[in-house]
């Protein structure tokens, strides 16, 4: 890319890939699952209530590292970051989240049961 030596790349973070070869771009369109739309909506609500900003979302996504980028889907990474930011903002604690997750899991195995039918 540039005349910079590899040594000069010390400190470059994994996500900062502008200018690197990227290969083919997948231009296929796809639908979003309901849960993905809900993650997006949660981000809108949380930032609307000023619990955190898109900058905080990005910060946690970057800190998750390249492994997460390779192994998790887009909205899986988002919900991880949204959750982290909401806990940092004091909206809920990890323990409270654990209680809620157990409560939802106890409703049933299907998406409809767990979602209270809404």
């Amino acid at each position: 890319m540039t005349t910079d030596s590899e040594a000069a790349d010390t400190g470059r973070r994994w996500h900062d890939m502008g200018g690197d070869p990227a290969g083919e771009i997948n231009r296929d369109e796809h639908d979003y699952a309901l849960w993905e739309k809900r993650v997006d909506a949660l981000m809108v609500i949380a930032t609307g209530k000023k619990y955190f900003t898109v900058d905080g979302l990005r910060r946690v996504l970057e800190d998750m590292g390249p492994e997460a980028f390779e192994t998790m889907t887009y909205y899986e990474r988002w919900i991880h970051s949204v959750t982290q930011n909401l806990m940092e903002a004091g909206v809920f604690t990890p323990g409270e989240l654990g209680d809620k997750m157990a409560e939802v899991a106890a409703r049933g195995q299907t998406y409809g049961e767990a979602s209270l039918g809404d």
Binding site: D16, G18, G19, T53, D55, R58
Partner: protein
Amino acid sequence: MATDTKTPALPVGAPVRLKKMAPPGHVRCPWYLRGKSGVIERDLGLTGNPEMLAYGGKTREIRLYRVRFRMQDIWGDAAEPASDTLDAEIFENWLEPTNAS
């Protein structure tokens, strides 16, 4: 450069260089532009500092500029055509004035 001034410290056309530093944490300066030189294309006013907002900190406003680079200055001989330019929006904390463009 002060961060609380109401007038831009850097006028349009001023030659600048982007700091070539690599602090840990969430920063808003792309790697491929660090250490590169350009000129101020326009002042975009004061805005919240994303490098503070990312950590939930109190917002201290910071000035955002649009900086114009020559593609050749970024990519060297790989730039085609070399006369093309690239604009990037860069916060003032990443800019240092230079004497030559």
